[in-house]
Amino acid sequence: MKWSFAGNRLTPTLTVSAVVVLAILPLVGLSAYNVTILTDFLAYALLAMSINLVAGHAGLLTMAHPAYAGVAAYAVVLLSLHVTQDGVLQLLAALVAGAAAAAATGWITARATKVYFLMLSLAIGEILYVIAVQWRPVTHGSDGLSTYSGMEFFGSGPVVLSGFIYWAALIVFAVLALATVVLTRSPFGSALRGIRDNEARMRSLGYPTARYKYFGWVFSGAVAGGAGWLLVAQQPRLVSPDDMSFQMAGLLLLAVVIGGTGSMWGSCLGAGVLVVMNEVVSQHLNGNGPLVLGIIFVVAVYALPKGIAGIRFRRAERSGGTHTPPGPPEDPTPSGHVEQKREVEAS
């Protein structure tokens, strides 16, 4: 690995400030409704990061992860309805459910690559979606499943105030996001990128590539499970098959790619665009937010070959590239390499 993955020196500062700003927001007069939307944003940002972990760093473009998050969300609501109100246990259940769903279906990582892999992951996600619709005794079909009991943390009473739930969600988000970033910076992350770029070579170097991909897949499934917990953290704690639909999977994958594959900041920005369009702007467009979002994504596929994270990179290149770009991308250099390599392969 000749690339250094120390990242930009500004990135940690920026990240910490962003988290602090996010933590302060409920204190400065944000309405309960907006706090709920902000929690949704955290959920989708974490889900986008879990997708980015495998899509950006292992080259496995996935449409199955929203379904993993959905499985975890169903697990949380079922647990709340039938077993316990303990928020920590519900979170653990979500992580385990996400990881288990990914582990049970993750063998596709060894069976396919590239477009065929995308197709298999879509088939798996859609089948989980259909199960959620059809398994009415457990999932209540397309009506969705909801619970009104608030979570309890460490012996507290049921927490129902949106601000407190939001803070709990922010902590969970920060911890899981950090774990994801740490994994991508680790030797394991470098190995994943090596497999993405040239699997045959990594195998001949002695890496058990199939096992690496499988572990990365299951880990990202657990993170997606955490996102599923975030999805049903706020009242009303409702999960419906729509959260796992083709449309959701497509929008999220596009959000990750538009954000810039490989850049976790880009994924959060992409998820931000998604939430703002779907939940805020959509009201002013007669509910046509998803349509506008689709058009934005189609335009972006043409206009931003390297995603939002790639924009700053190109500008820095033009100005000589002597100073480090001031932006959030973790390390655009390797993705640049890869893009060039892929172009060569494609032609």
Binding site: K114, R136, P137, L254, G294
Partner: protein, 296 residues
């Protein structure tokens, strides 16, 4: 024979559904084999057909004339959409297949949302033409005549697709482009035109499949994604790039869906998944693999 006479309707439903799935999946698999593009908008094409049927043929009653008009419109619209998609992927050719798949994904979302904007979120019915909306007596009980017509038409289309691909020189060029594009180019054939025509034909088939499915499933927002999923499973089971495999896979999934939904509605989707898992585990190249292996 006793079981057959009480359950033949399930089997016929499965065959009808399988033939419609074949019309979807054969276009997907040929496009995939030839262009390496996974057209994720294929389900949206199917939806276009169903909604065109609702609008042109009618919701309650349809005459032969209005249904025929809907059919012709579907073929024309499908061909136009196919050519448009082909033109839209052109700027992305240098950037690889993933970007093209992402483009079709974005377009799938746009097309299905546009349909929702135009036709609203309500489910609609599509009428069968003329007397096909009635039932006929078959093995002593009533069976919808329209589904028999779909079976006949589906068989004709399947035979037509097979004849064109296997027995005509145009089909030979298509198959040659799938297996060795540079060689076809070296023979002086304009590969771009071949690919555009194939894309147009595949899209028209998908839109027509949507129209034909209309009187059975109606027109609603979910049918496109659902059919796309089943078509993908069909391709995995049958073998990528194989027409015969696609037909076999479509029949298996069609029958499994119709019998499974009746016998154990909660388990039908597990069955679909199980079939895909079994094939991937023990025969990853598909039940009837293409003679020229397509890269996966």
């Amino acid at each position: 024979m006793g079981w057959f006479s009480t359950n033949y309707a399930l089997l016929l439903n499965g065959v009808a559904m399988g033939l419609l799935l074949f019309m979807m999946a054969v276009g997907l698999t040929v496009i995939f084999g030839m262009l390496d593009i996974l057209n994720l908008a294929h389900g949206a094409f199917f939806m276009v057909g169903a909604y065109l049927g609702y609008r042109i043929a009618g919701e309650a009653t349809a005459t032969w004339g209005s249904f025929a008009l809907a059919l012709v419109t579907c073929i024309a619209v499908g061909a136009v959409i196919g050519v448009a998609f082909m033109l839209m992927t052109r700027p992305l050719v240098a950037r690889g297949h993933m970007d093209q798949a992402l483009l079709t994904l974005g377009l799938a979302l746009v097309v299905s949302q546009l349909l929702l904007v135009v036709f609203g979120k309500d489910d609609h019915a599509v009428a069968a033409p003329g007397r096909l909306s009635q039932s006929v007596s078959l093995f002593g009980s009533a069976y919808p005549a329209y589904r028999l017509a779909v079976i006949v038409l589906g068989l004709v289309v399947a035979a037509g697709v097979w004849l064109i691909l296997e027995k005509t020189s145009a089909g030979a060029i298509v198959r040659a482009t799938v297996s060795d594009r540079p060689m076809v180019e070296a023979c002086g054939i304009d590969v771009r035109t071949v690919m555009t025509a194939t894309f147009a034909g595949a899209s028209a088939l998908a839109v027509v499949a949507g129209l034909l499915a209309g009187p059975i499933q109606g027109a609603s927002s979910g049918i496109g994604d659902n059919t796309l999923l089943l078509a993908l499973v069909v391709i995995v089971i049958g073998g990528l790039g194989s027409v015969a495999g696609t037909l076999l896979g479509a029949m298996i999934i069609g029958l499994m869906q119709s019998v499974g939904v009746m016998v154990a509605p909660e388990l039908a989707s597990f069955l679909t998944f199980g079939a895909m898992v079994l094939v991937l585990a023990f025969r990853p190249q598909g039940l009837i693999p293409a003679r020229v292996p397509v890269s996966r």
